[in-house]
Symmetry: C2
Subunit: 494 residues, 2 copies
């Protein structure tokens, strides 16, 4: 008989590309999402939570081959005797599920349907430093209206949201562009070939990096980059490049000026004029709502997403400076983006339904709040009631109950109480602001010792002997004054 | 050449056993979880969010066979050229991930480690009516201490939590039992065979249904059930059944009395005495914290979970009555349960680590709050600004901006404005309390019409013509008074 092999111990590890979030990492994100949800709600958006799991068929794009599902999503086949089970997958964003939900429930949903959604999404990609395979998204979309008022509203909402979570006015800018204007530019250039149009789009995407001269070279014969490598150009005549360059550099001091420049760039293209009209509508609506150029601007140099969206695109940038990895100053950059897309539910119903929406980069925005000092300062831990006498646990329990009933975060030490030093070390690890001590002697005299651990740490670091004596960090108070004294100390550090 | 087959349209459907949650279903759950988190935090528990995906190896219990993973979890294999990729799975509860997290991070975590977690879990089970394959759990556990103070604390926290979310004192009862006492009872019975002990456990689980006499029959020769079918018994002597019956019926008017009865039931069993001592410690600690028998009781008839846990078990029951499907009154029943379990991380590290924890049935508790009328009343929708003149969208946008800046939930109608009736139907579907109307005439006169839709609906239902005239549900106010008047109407319905 074969020997039963002893099972090796399992590894205690998250799967590659996944991570755990502890304490403030969790609560700060929840608080930020709750603040965002509050603004979305005020704008009439309704919450939607679809399940993490969808059929691969409904998700679209990712169709499983016979042996294994395509890369990009985590997918598996439902068990079925005849191997005909559905392929299921974890959602890779919140837009694909919205399309499915809207198609499935469209008869019960209002038209237009304003909805927001927040939650984790999953990508089956090679994990890298700081790149995880599960992360949060936070989206708001309006489905079922072609009105530019929907786009304007989302831009205004984005501004309100940034301010609500703690990015002050002046530290962000929402920039709006329009894909149709770019289409008009392509017409004005005489580019009709789809492959060539795609090449132009790719070049435009590099405008941020290579600037006007670089774009000209890349649209023409080609360009040598900094390393000396030659990048082949699109091969257009120099004249043909003019409308693109005019488009990218059309931003003027005023919205009217910008729109005027764009009109020149698109020539007599019909779709171009339509795009400019849309931008002008959005600008007028925002102005009427009190959202001036200090918060939202028409800016044709926004190119991210132009390839994907079909009408207006918008992007929220944080304009304050941070230091990058190499200590160089740079702007914080984009934290949210979106735009208008057609055919959201067409795959399901055959009917085109216009939609526009935004997605906030949850982790980027959290990082920004950390930069601004809005979150991430050391979190105050609970008050720790130490255990001097194991048999009087009930007394200590009564103390924490009193503290908690007064709304104060408090816990009794539940480890081995033998070594008192360990209890103070524990309080330190918990970032406890206050420790309570009641030994037998105190108990008999009806008093408790209250240690101000914040002050204690400060004194330990840099106080002279005199200061030590003058500013005691430990107080003896009557047992009945426990809560009042703790509250007094906590008030110093809030 | 083969013809390219036209792809059929995908079905817009959630996978079997999954569902979507809309509006208040989402926000009510979030609000409840936030309230629970607040109490947990006050008790010194720290948030933990682990990823939804774990390795099957770390989850344990569910090991994949070659062809397909075991039932019970959703699992898949990571792609690897040599087919040696890790098996990954969606977590099926929050305890298995806690074990992995604690084993992985134990050097950085405080000891003991109090943590709470809330989020969806997934079960690969046959879906049924009201049974879903994704649902929320909300857990709190203390890892790394054998102290009964940890168990007592969780019971107290559970009581505070229920009151915080809206279950008044008197409408719930937390009942505490101990597996060790049952082990003592088994010793007193002379049951040493594991299989027989398991049979006794199964019988005890039926106490709720079959009562004392039924348990006696099932422990002995067997029992005929209501349908006449015969269920074979465990085959014990009638004498042997006495300790079990004494155990199950040992609840007295006072805790002291109950403990006395239990002492009799376990005879001279050492482990039994240990269990009774633990219960007596818990009772003393809770009393010291002010948690009396109106909230938490020692109750040996709590049998759920006794098979799984190793020490104290606790269960929160809602004691108010509801009508079941057939219109009969019954108690609402259990909404949370937990207990002490050993060996949480032993699989990973070889070291036994004691732990105790509770899991709240999120959906059950939400249902209870709905029964108590705490949530689920019709949610007030946004104020709807109608569009009388498509070209003056900017004016309407300015109105909603004003309302929102005043903190009022408001939206402008974004559908096709041609048919005004459709706009009012939309407002109705949105449960809008108020509609704003500003046509060309109003605009010229500098006024707006404000429709009280709540009163309007009431009048439409049952008012006489006189009442209609006396209590107009539509007001004309100067444009400048828009916000003030809307606020006045909303105040009537809050």
């Amino acid at each position: 008989m074969a020997k039963v092999k002893k099972q090796p111990r399992p590894k205690a590890e998250t799967p590659k590309g996944f991570r755990d979030y502890f304490g403030a990492e969790v609560t700060e994100r929840s608080a930020m999402l709750a603040a965002i949800g509050k603004v979305y709600h005020r704008y009439g958006f309704d919450a939607l939570e679809s399940s993490a799991v969808e059929t691969v068929e409904a998700l679209g794009k990712f169709l499983p081959d016979v042996d294994r599902p395509n890369e990009g999503v985590f997918a598996w086949q439902e068990f079925d005797e005849d191997d005909k089970g559905d392929w299921l997958a974890l959602r890779y964003d919140l837009t694909a599920p919205l399309a499915r939900v809207y198609a499935q429930h469209r008869n019960e949903l209002p038209t237009p349907y304003r909805r927001y959604a927040m939650g984790p999404v999953w990508r089956n990609e090679k994990p890298g430093p700081g790149r995880f395979r599960q992360f949060y998204q936070c989206d708001a979309d309006t489905v079922g209206t072609a009105s530019m008022a929907a786009d304007a509203e989302i831009c205004a909402m984005l501004a309100d949201t940034l301010e609500e979570v703690g990015i002050p006015r002046g530290d962000y800018l929402i920039r709006v562009n329009n894909r149709k204007v770019l289409n008009g530019v392509l017409e004005a250039m005489g580019v009709t070939d789809e492959a060539q149009a795609a090449d132009v789009l790719r070049t435009i995407d590099k405008f941020d990096k290579v600037g006007e001269a670089g774009v000209r070279e890349l649209l023409g014969a080609g360009r040598k980059d900094a390393s000396g490598a030659f990048i082949e150009g699109v091969g257009l005549d120099p004249d043909q490049a003019e409308p693109v360059v005019a488009f990218l550099t059309s931003k003027a001091d005023t919205t009217a000026g910008t729109l005027e420049n764009l009109r020149a760039a698109v020539g007599d293209s019909f779709v171009g004029a339509e795009g400019i009209d849309e931008l002008s509508q959005i600008a007028a609506l925002l102005e009427a709502g009190g959202y001036g150029a200090d918060r939202i601007q028409i800016d044709p140099s926004v190119v991210r997403g132009l390839g994907y969206y079909t009408g207006p695109v918008y992007e929220a940038e944080l304009t304050f400076e941070i230091l990058d990895d190499k200590g160089r100053k740079r702007q914080f950059g984009s934290v949210a983006g979106g735009g208008r897309y057609d055919d959201l539910v067409k795959r399901f119903t055959g009917q085109a339904v216009p939609a526009t929406g935004v997605s906030i980069g949850v982790d980027r925005l959290l990082a920004a709040l950390r930069e601004k000092g809005r979150i991430g300062s050391e979190v105050q831990g609970p008050v720790v009631v130490t255990v001097m006498d194991r048999d009087r646990m009930a007394d200590y329990q009564a103390m924490v109950a009193e503290l908690r009933n007064a709304g104060i975060r408090a816990e009794v030490y539940l480890g081995n109480p033998k070594n008192f030093g360990n209890q103070l070390k524990y309080a330190d690890r918990r970032h406890a602001p206050v420790a309570i001590i009641e030994g037998g002697q105190e108990h008999e005299s009806g008093v408790v010792q209250i240690k101000d651990l914040v002050l204690g740490a400060k004194l330990a670091e840099n106080a002279s002997l005199e200061e030590w004596k003058e500013r005691p960090s430990q107080y003896e108070v009557p047992r009945a004054e426990l809560v009042a004294k703790v509250r007094e100390i906590l008030a110093l550090y809030q």
